[in-house]
């Protein structure tokens, strides 16, 4: 039967049986909506984990010196300029971004009273800043031990919002990047409890340079040499910045390591991030890195994978429930189609007498089921989206802020829209398969005579 004719006869039959089919597809709509909801939820949470909590770049690996003692004895190496050159020479490596720890102590004494009036009036103009917050800023007294590292500015090129991230001119404040994760925790826990303004990229240009003392500690008495009073300016938030400290340009870190900890500290990197041309090169790069006497730090990746796995398992569990619902709906649809076929027995016999082949009868029944699947799937998807939006709305309204609270708990990959419909169609067609087979196998002469 030609598709046009088939679709006409299907639509005629569906109109006739709409009441039966609507009732039998209720389960399908519920199943598909819950399937859509849970898959979107799983994807949303995974997206938050992958982009906010444990951001992992698929094309980058972090190389660290070997830590196992046996390996170290057996010739483990430090990461120096020579090692960086060797990394660059590995085929498939697109870029090498070294990272260097600050090998000296540093501290910051923050006093709200020392913020210049001009800076305070600038802060006061920021949308969302209340007089109470401004008062809290003035009252800030913090003595901080500062840890830090230096990274290649190319790594954070896209994260600079309030100035250049490069070794500063003499007398200028040191540009620093702060960890997004650390700021998220500060915003949702620390700042709220103390009525301090939340830090975000819009606010950064208004934050005045903060005091920073190099080669100084409030705690340790073993600091040798002179301290250096300087300032730091937060120029951006980055996932590449360290969690509990500041991240400064690599050249600046080298300069101060050389000044306060010696030449060796200025030439020793604690890690290097290797960027490969494509993920196909990862295995090759890892092999060569190991061959050169270094390790790959997979801790972040493993953490992300572990969390991702848990989310996947939970999502799978809920999706299984959806599957069961849709499966029951398919049984219901099968029952409905058996009933419809029984009612249409004589009609099927007539169609056979008028020239319908077995394949035509099968196609009509399966086509009707497929159409029910499309409509049921679309309705289920609509209901699922409505559920997602409702949950997002309630979460914004009801739940307090917490670290890494996303704007939406749901993500909608494109395949999900097609998948939900296909899933519904597949189950409907599956449900109608046996009724369709029975209808096609019906003896037309018996069907016509009611035998």
């Amino acid at each position: 039967m030609k598709p046009g004719k088939l679709s006409r006869i299907i639509s005629q039959n569906l109109r006739r049986n709409r009441k039966n089919l609507v009732f039998s597809s209720v389960g399908l709509v519920v199943g598909i909506s819950s399937f859509f909801f849970f898959i979107a939820l799983g994807h949303g949470i995974k997206h938050t984990v992958a982009t906010e909590i444990f951001p992992v770049d698929a094309n980058r690996i972090q190389v660290v010196p070997r830590t196992a003692q046996f390996d170290a004895l057996a010739g483990g190496r430090i990461i120096d300029d020579e090692a960086l050159q060797q990394f660059s020479a590995i085929s498939g490596i697109k870029a090498v971004y070294p990272r260097m720890k600050l090998a000296f102590l540093a501290s910051s004494k923050m006093d709200g009273r020392s913020i210049p009036p001009a800076a305070l009036s600038m802060i006061a103009k920021i949308p969302g800043i209340t007089p109470g917050m401004l008062g809290a800023v003035k009252d800030v007294r913090m003595w901080l031990e500062i840890m830090g590292n230096g990274i290649d500015p190319r790594l954070v090129r896209d994260d600079m919002v309030a100035g250049e991230f490069a070794d500063p001119q003499p007398g200028q404040p040191i540009p620093v990047m702060l960890s997004r994760r650390m700021i998220e925790i500060y915003n949702t826990s620390f700042a709220k409890a103390r009525n301090l303004p939340e830090i975000n990229e819009m606010l950064l240009p208004f934050i005045p340079p903060l005091p920073l003392t190099l080669n100084h500690s409030f705690i340790s008495r073993h600091v040798q040499g002179n301290e250096l009073q300087t300032r730091m300016k937060v120029v951006g938030l980055s996932h590449h910045a360290i969690m509990g400290g500041i991240t400064i340009p690599l050249e600046t870190a080298k300069k101060y390591n050389r000044q306060f900890a010696g030449e060796r500290a200025a030439q020793t990197y604690d890690a290097a991030i290797l960027e490969v041309e494509s993920s196909d090169w990862l295995g090759h790069a890892q092999e060569n890195v190991n061959r050169l006497g270094f390790d790959i730090d997979l801790s972040e990746k493993r953490m992300a994978e572990s969390v991702g796995l848990i989310v996947t398992l939970v999502t799978l569990g809920f999706s299984l429930i959806s599957l069961i619902i849709v499966g029951i709906a398919a049984v219901n649809i099968a029952h409905t189609f058996f009933m419809i076929i029984f009612e249409r027995r004589r009609e099927i016999g007539l169609m056979r007498a008028l020239g319908a082949s077995r394949a035509d009868i099968r196609a009509i029944i399966l086509g009707e089921a497929g159409f029910v699947g499309v409509i049921g799937g679309a309705m289920g998807m609509g209901l699922g989206i409505a559920g997602c939006l409702l949950v997002d709305f309630l979460v914004v309204k009801v739940l307090p802020d917490f670290p890494f609270k996303p704007d939406s708990f749901f993500a909608y990959p494109t395949w999900l829209f097609f998948g939900a419909i296909l899933f519904a169609v597949a189950f409907c067609v599956l449900g109608a398969y046996f009724p369709a087979r029975r209808a096609a196998a019906m003896d037309p002469s018996a069907a016509l005579t009611g035998r």
């Binding site: 030609k2 004719k5 007539l350 056979r352 008028l354 020239g355 082949s357 077995r358 394949a359 002469s445």
Partner: protein, 224 residues
């Protein structure tokens, strides 16, 4: 047109098998008007179903319009029913949700040809005298009108043969006579071969051949 040779057909299997037709051998020339008479259960409808390719579960040879029906695939048989045979039933078998035009054009759904179904349906409804009932649902038609719609549906695809199973069985004598006149007209004017199963042989005055079935056996085939 129709050549049946040693046709046997039973319902059920083993000891429970009930013979419906036995030793049926006959030839019907093209353009004949044949009546099949016999008591209930004598095998009239079974014979019609075998000739029309609706029943293939028999032994023997059935050649209709030059085609050996048992050697045809389901698709070929379906095409044969669509193009070569038109069926008319005692209970009309019209679809209640479709109007007269749609009922008549039903076989177009299963046809490979893309002829203008609506125009052809209207043409055949005019042919059976229902030009003013095109959009009527079966529920809005009398028994005679319903049977005319069924006849229009049977001739829609321009078949070479009409197989009618007690076409007047649900009609009063007067209406039945009109339906038979219509069959006669189709037989004579359109040269259609007509095989009609009936209990009312007396109505078919112009039949060219009368077949009598008794307990599934052909008692005689003769000019009435």
């Amino acid at each position: 047109m129709i050549h049946l040779e040693d046709i046997h057909r039973s319902y059920g299997t083993g000891d429970a098998a009930t013979p419906a037709l036995a030793d049926i051998t006959l030839d019907v020339p093209s353009g004949a008007f044949v009546t099949v008479v016999g008591t209930s259960g004598s095998g009239k409808t079974t014979l019609l179903n075998i000739i029309g390719g609706l029943d293939t579960d028999y032994s023997g040879t059935a050649v209709v319009s030059g085609k050996n029906l048992r050697k045809m695939s389901d698709r070929e048989l379906s095409r044969f029913r669509n193009l070569t045979v038109g069926f008319v039933f005692q209970h009309f078998n019209l679809l209640e949700h479709l109007d007269a035009l749609q009922n008549v054009a039903l076989s177009a759904f299963f046809s490979a040809e893309d002829h203008k179904a609506a125009e052809r349906a209207e043409e055949v409804l005019v042919r059976v005298g229902l030009q003013d009932k095109l959009k009527k649902l079966p529920g809005q038609l009398s028994g005679g009108q319903k049977q005319r719609v069924a006849i229009a549906r049977a001739i829609f695809s321009r078949p070479r043969m009409i197989l009618a199973d007690e076409p007047t069985g649900n009609l009063d004598t007067n209406t039945g006579g009109q339906i038979i006149s219509l069959f006669e007209s189709l037989n004579q004017d359109d040269d259609l071969t007509i095989v009609a199963v009936t209990h009312e042989e007396f109505l078919f005055k112009n039949a060219t051949l009368a077949l009598h079935l008794e307990d599934g056996r052909l008692v005689n085939g003769q000019k009435p």
